[in-house]
């Protein structure tokens, strides 16, 4: 059963990544080509039909995968690169800094990605960059807390004590003992955060707060669809978003269950 769900996850996520990669070199049609036939039904030559400007939906869907993956990777990397060191630092026992980081983390928690993106878009204009930064910053506390909790567990182990006694400097302990031991957990968190980032990006592009109108994104395709003339044009990008999110969620869940024997027992 678990194997099956992970396989489903891998297939969904793989499809999305594949679509994005292939679109770099080939799409069935030019995704920016305005065609004669608007709202073409699903079929041939337009596999997924055409939108309100006669542009090929399948091609735009593939190109849209690029933005989704790009935003996901950069946002998660940003969050992990800032959140993890802070988490480890705090977890290795600095009381006062710990309190400060915890409070800063609380403040960030109160500013959800959506609101942060709105603020940045108001100040600097909406773009993929502001959307990515907003999602990344909003995800920092997630990694920080996760890394801190994991570090606390690792720090109570005997091999850390041994390292301390033998005079290993703290930063080396963090790098050599703590980081490798919490890495699997961070990996799971990255998968989960990746799917959250995809959700957030879709929401932002739906609101018109991400890529400019010329760039095809799944959220904007959904927004622009005419529900009366061609409802399929709204459903298709919606399904794409859901598949991508589901895929990474299932992968994250599967790996977590594998890592945590307690969960395996109960379920």
């Amino acid at each position: 059963m678990k194997r099956f769900t992970v396989a489903v996850g891998l297939i969904c996520a793989g499809l999305v990544i594949l679509a994005g990669l292939v679109s770099l070199v080939w799409t069935p049609f030019d995704p920016a080509q305005i065609g004669e036939q608007r709202y073409a039904p699903l079929g041939w030559p337009h596999l997924l039909g055409t939108d309100h400007l006669g542009m090929d939906t399948a091609s735009r869907l593939m190109v849209g995968a690029q933005t989704t993956i790009f935003v996901g990777i950069i946002a998660v990397a940003l969050a992990a690169l800032i959140g993890v060191p802070f988490g480890i630092f705090v977890g290795m026992g600095h009381r006062i800094t710990g309190e400060i980081v915890a409070r800063a983390s609380d403040i960030l928690y109160a500013l959800p990605a959506l609101l942060l993106a709105i603020l940045l878009a108001a100040a600097r204009g909406a773009s993929v960059t502001t959307a990515t930064i907003a999602i990344g910053i909003a995800t920092i506390p997630v990694f920080q807390r996760m890394a801190r909790a994991a570090t606390l567990t690792v720090m109570s182990q005997d091999y850390i004590l041994a390292a301390c006694v033998s005079g290993t400097p703290k930063w080396l302990i963090a790098l050599r003992h703590v980081l490798p031991n919490i890495a699997p957990l961070l990996g799971v968190q990255a998968a989960a955060s990746f799917s959250m980032a995809i959700l957030a990006e879709a929401g932002l592009s739906y609101l018109g707060l991400s890529a400019p109108p010329t760039t095809p994104t799944w959220g904007r395709m959904l927004r622009d669809a005419n529900l009366y003339a061609a409802p399929a044009q709204a459903v298709i990008p919606g399904v794409a978003i859901a598949l991508a999110v589901l895929g990474f969620n299932l992968i994250g869940d599967g790996v977590r269950d594998y890592l945590d024997p307690r969960l395996r027992e109960v379920r």
Partner: protein
């Protein structure tokens, strides 16, 4: 109890203050000149300067921040540079829309999720339990605006049972008001309910392994009674946490739902203001939303104290 309360109050006000700094400086400290934007690129430097002076933009940032903060203490969120109207006058008519949306969907989500999660936990080894689990997994992956769009296509476009969008105040027509809120509220309940149901299920499954549950079973209690009477209270702290987080997320997440159903609530005001570059409105509404989110978190903290007596002693973390 009192010192625990005092500590939480201090943290609450500190966080609100810090959030106001973040919001103000993101909006005001970045390059870009509101006066120039308003008058257009062709405006004469004198005119721009005059406008800056009139709006007080020529004064140092710090001064402007403290003025705004002082206003906040009086409940004044600021005045729009563009229209000259106060932020509250813009918010006023929209508060009810978002209020009803959030106020109706939250309790309904909990009402749906509790029994669903309980059933899923009790039947976890059977197909129906697995089904509920799979369903909630899929529900988690579908963004709220996709759910809303699909519901609109089915019930408004294809079947024509309900209006696709718009809002009618409850004072005008109760029936019409309800008809227009059915789809938006259902959308939120589906998305939130899926999330909550998963959570409730996991919580009840944890209860199944507890000693008190085994004892209850041993003295002859039925399964659901053991779960309901003992399990619910024990998992209620974590349940309150999740409900609080969900409510906080919904306050901001309602923006998307309002866009789908063209409801003129707080969220749509915010989006409109971003597109019109009306910075004071963005600043004021964001502050209000963050304040609401933080208040919810604070109340959740208080709820812990009420539910779990062990937390009432102030223990420094």
């Amino acid at each position: 109890m009192r010192s625990a309360l005092a500590r939480r109050l201090i943290v609450f006000f500190g966080t609100v203050l810090a959030a106001s700094v973040v919001i103000f400086f993101i909006i005001q400290a970045l390059p870009g000149d509101v006066a120039l934007t308003t008058l257009g690129m062709g405006a004469s430097p004198e005119a721009v300067e005059a406008l800056r002076e009139r709006w007080g933009l020529d004064r140092p940032l710090i001064v402007r921040y403290f003025e705004w903060l002082l206003g906040l203490f009086h409940g004044d969120l600021g005045t729009s540079y563009l229209t000259g109207e106060t932020v509250w006058s813009q918010i006023g008519p929209r508060l009810a829309v978002t209020g009803w949306l959030v106020g109706l969907s939250m309790p309904l989500s909990a009402l749906v999720a509790l029994p669903l999660g309980l059933v899923a936990a009790m039947l976890r080894r059977r197909l129906s339990g697995v089904l509920v689990n799979a369903l909630s997994h899929i529900g988690l992956a579908i963004p709220v605006f996709v759910v809303g769009t699909v519901l609109t296509i089915i019930f408004a476009v294809k079947l024509g049972w309900l209006p696709a969008n718009g809002y009618v105040p409850i004072g005008e027509s109760v029936g019409e008001w309800a008809r227009r809120l059915i789809l938006p509220v259902t959308t939120i309940v589906i998305v939130q309910g899926c999330f909550l149901a998963r959570y409730v299920r996991a919580g009840f499954i944890d209860v199944l392994t507890e000693d008190y549950y085994r004892t209850a079973r041993a003295v002859g209690w039925r399964r659901w009674r053991g779960l309901w009477r003992h399990g619910l209270r024990n998992m209620s702290t974590s349940l309150v946490t999740v409900l609080g987080l969900q409510l906080a997320a919904l306050l901001v997440g309602a923006i998307l739902v309002e866009q789908v159903f063209v409801l003129r609530g707080l969220g749509s005001l915010l989006i409109q203001a971003v597109k019109a570059q009306d910075l004071m409105i963005v600043q004021g509404v964001s502050m209000l939303l963050v304040f609401a989110v933080l208040t919810v978190n604070f109340l959740v903290d208080l709820a812990y104290l009420a539910i779990d007596p062990r937390l009432r002693k102030a223990v420094p973390r």
